[in-house]
């Protein structure tokens, strides 16, 4: 099995808060991340791809248009339709990237989306596949 890992970066602002909860409840669950003014991260994406040879440029173009083009320099809660109701936690952003790319990168197969939110925390999503 040969896997390719490609790395990308974007910067975005977000608030961790559910619109259907009041501020006190959001503060209780999400802490300082619930500040309504928002805060930002320099995110890094690592895509693990299988079943591909020489697909790098095509994948880069798809990621550029559909992921980086949608997320970079945006306030995720306000500017990205998917996050109007879904809280843009690292977990949910990783799932968004997975759902956006899974079919689009064919014939390459997406094996993992790793999203690094800060130097101290990251998530890895494998879709419906069992966690290795």
């Amino acid at each position: 099995m040969t896997r390719v890992i490609r790395r990308y970066a974007f910067s975005a602002a977000h608030v961790l808060a559910r619109p259907d909860w009041d501020e006190a409840r959001n503060r209780a669950v999400y802490g300082k991340c619930a500040n309504p003014s928002g805060h930002g991260h320099n995110y890094r994406i690592e895509l693990t791809l299988e079943g591909t040879s020489d697909a790098g440029e095509a994948v880069d173009a798809i990621v550029g248009e559909r992921v980086l083009g949608e997320l970079h320099d945006r306030f995720l809660n306000q500017d990205v339709r998917d996050f109007e109701r879904v809280v843009p936690t690292a977990e949910n952003i990783a799932r968004y990237i997975w759902d956006t790319l899974r079919v689009a990168v064919a014939p390459a197969r997406l094996a993992c989306v790793r999203l690094v939110e800060t130097s101290n925390n990251s998530v890895e999503y494998f879709g419906s596949e069992p966690t290795p």
Binding site: T89, E91, N92, S119, N121, S122, V123, E124, T131
Partner: protein, 116 residues
Amino acid sequence: MLITRRLEFSASYRDRKGATHGHNWELEVTLSGPVDAETGMVIDLKDLKEVMEREVEARFDHRSLNDDTPYFRERAPTPEGFAELIFGLLDAALPKGVLHRIRLSPTDDVTIEVQR
């Protein structure tokens, strides 16, 4: 979904030959679980941070593993043994079964991985 939090701490140890090693250890703790449908999170990272500070940082930061902790009285520390000890301490402190893997790096060039 896997979620990983990182911690750095400093600790020294004497190996079985009597040589003393000091490192800035880098620890990556990875939990596995479903994303909670209500919060959008696997776990509150504040809770994981508190467990890591209590179970690892408070026990080992700026300590000698031989002299200042009770874990290496019978056998000399090794990075592998230290990693297995940390896995056990975290596994006992976290909700059952959520700890997936730890990676412990004594230097940039060496990483020990312990996976369930």
